[in-house]
Symmetry: C2
Subunit: 376 residues, 2 copies
């Protein structure tokens, strides 16, 4: 078992490539983490997730604390064994889903209290319990509990949530002192779309000291330019020698732009959720397989893809499966999308190493702008 | 491309093992054919279906004629290419689903006319069109159009449907004369639970002459002993040198009992449908993964199984996935069930070859009767 560490390999402008070591193996950065909400990346076998090029997956503490429960998962040997995924796992703290999914939540300085969206049971989540749960899961990288505010919001609300999150950051760090050696805890920068609050949050977190730093509260309703402006302002305040994780983001374009601003890690439900709804991501941009123009098209989605799902099945078949609401349609498009996200990250890493990230970014966007290849 | 042929390898009592050659490869019999209703075995990649040990899959003419349509499938290179399944395919005639799924159906001597359950379009299906559709699909083994009556039913109704089906058998055979060389057409014995009608049907079909003979209209509401009595009476009337196919059957026990009575081929939605609903078939009998007794059970479903899905995931995880309604639960249990059905067929074939089918049948039933292995 390795210990958590982060090594920068190359810089190209503000873009960085590197390597995170964890107790369950290595993560090449910039890294996209497929989301395994309920201890499964929806519609994917674990070895398939690995085959798309993913080094690490994310799991959701909120969902797992409700079902099957962290003590049960620990008794079963931890989350890695449960979901048959031997690689690194990052868990969120549960805070985000408490805000978005649960009913009757109440926040005070001590804790967030909420009613399960599954069966109405009341739960209390403190920063200490959030850390404890993530340790029970056996997470390689744990996140502090924070409060995430939907944008647009009043400055006073954003400021209150930011200060609450900072207090919870300190308590999370203390609680994490009893973690097994080698595991990591990340702090989360909050402050909404307010540069001064983001600045204060980043500085205070750095003073506390974490293994890595996340930008939280983005992709919560704001336009992309607001997010990129915040990244421009915040990234330079984060310790260079630690990973920078942009939570819950985003589209392929968001990822490229965030990498350009020094971000190293990403997670998002878009490739999996959109795959289940008939949308493929590709080097030609998004392709909607529900569209009738695919019904008679014998060509694969992209015969230059490394992903068998993109090469071995016709667009006509994908269209049929999506229209017929067949599981295999969701399975193939999820695999295609995760493979595309990983192909993009792999390209990003190679471009940074070669000192040609700007060219890669321009070429990639040209491909998206050209749009889908026309039928012969 | 091979031509259709059937070779008997061994007999043991009335049980037989053999080999069917088709234009797309070999089928070892007794054979279980997974059901790929809409040109996909639900929740399975085609190479996984092969890996469970399946030599051949079944596809449903009714579903495919409505969507994506036989002319479209032909233009796309046929069903094998569409679904990325290079092995043999048997298609039913569409008759059964016309009866069970469509609205406003009307049958006369010429055709069945019905309204699509998808969009209300009116279709007419004649015996000639059913053959034409199956040829457009590129099916290795086509079935004649027949009328299947739900049991219990009046003798007069059963008799009328049996005679109608015989007339359609003759027309199907004539229509099939323009099939590419090597493809096969099977006739279907009807006659409900009436031995005299079954007898007349089997003799008349044999006189017409088909590549294989199916028993239709079973597993339509009758108890198992009624079905087995019919098989006892009918099988001896079927040509020995042709495959005997029991349509739409059944449970593992149905399969063993039908093999004992000289049946060679089976299809059924039970392993796939039950897998999607949390039920596993195993050498311990059926196991309901919804049951709370599995919630803390770290053991795999069956560590002696050849199927990775049965070995690499705990019962606790399968339980969690089923309770959480995760696609992976349906995927794993479908794979487990299809692998178990194939393992059963493989065991049956080996036992017949070794002249110990009776012992195999008894041992298998003892395993089911002992029930699921108890926790340690």
């Amino acid at each position: 078992m390795g210990s958590f560490s982060f090594r920068l390999i190359a810089n190209d402008g503000n873009a960085r490539s590197g390597e995170i070591e964890t107790p369950h193996g290595r993560v090449r950065t910039p890294a996209f983490m497929p989301v395994g909400t309920q201890a499964t990346v929806k519609g994917m076998y674990p070895d398939q997730v690995r085959d798309t090029g993913a080094d690490i997956v994310l799991a959701n503490t909120y969902h797992l604390m409700l079902r099957p429960g962290p003590e049960r998962i620990a008794a079963l040997g931890g989350l890695h064994r449960l979901m048959n995924w031997p690689g690194p796992i990052l868990t969120d703290s549960g805070g985000f889903q408490v805000m978005s999914l649960s009913a009757l939540r109440r926040i005070d300085d001590n804790a967030v209290t909420f009613r399960s969206h599954l069966d109405g049971t009341m739960y209390e989540l403190t920063p200490e319990r959030a850390v404890e749960i993530q340790l029970l899961l056996g997470s390689d990288i744990a996140m502090q509990l924070d409060e995430c505010v939907k944008l647009p919001a009043e400055r006073a609300d954003i400021e209150r949530a930011m200060h609450l999150s900072l207090g919870w950051a300190e308590r999370s760090k203390r609680a994490f002192e009893r973690a097994p050696a080698g595991h990591a805890l990340f702090g989360i920068v909050q402050g909404g779309d307010d540069a001064a609050l983001r600045d204060a949050s980043a500085r205070a977190l750095t003073a506390i000291g974490f293994n890595g730093y996340a930008i939280g509260g983005m992709a919560v309703g704001e336009p992309q330019d607001v997010m990129l402006r915040i990244l421009d302002e915040v990234t330079s305040l984060l310790p260079e020698r630690a990973p920078h994780y942009l939570m819950g983001v985003g589209t392929p374009d968001d990822l490229i732009e965030a990498v350009a601003r020094g971000m190293d890690m990403f997670d998002c439900v878009l490739p999996t959720r959109n795959g289940r709804h008939g949308l493929a991501f590709s080097r030609f941009g998004p392709v909607n397989l529900k569209n009738a123009r695919h019904a008679n098209d014998p060509r694969p989605l992209d015969d230059a893809s490394a992903c068998p799902a993109a090469r071995d099945y016709s667009r006509a078949y994908l269209h049929h499966l999506v229209k017929a609401n067949e599981m295999l349609g969701a399975m193939l498009l999820t695999a295609i999308n995760l493979a595309y996200y990983q192909e993009l990250m792999s390209g990003v890493r190679a471009a940074i190493a070669a000192g040609r990230f700007e060219a890669f970014r321009a070429e990639t966007k040209e491909g998206w702008a050209r749009g889908d290849i026309a039928p012969a």
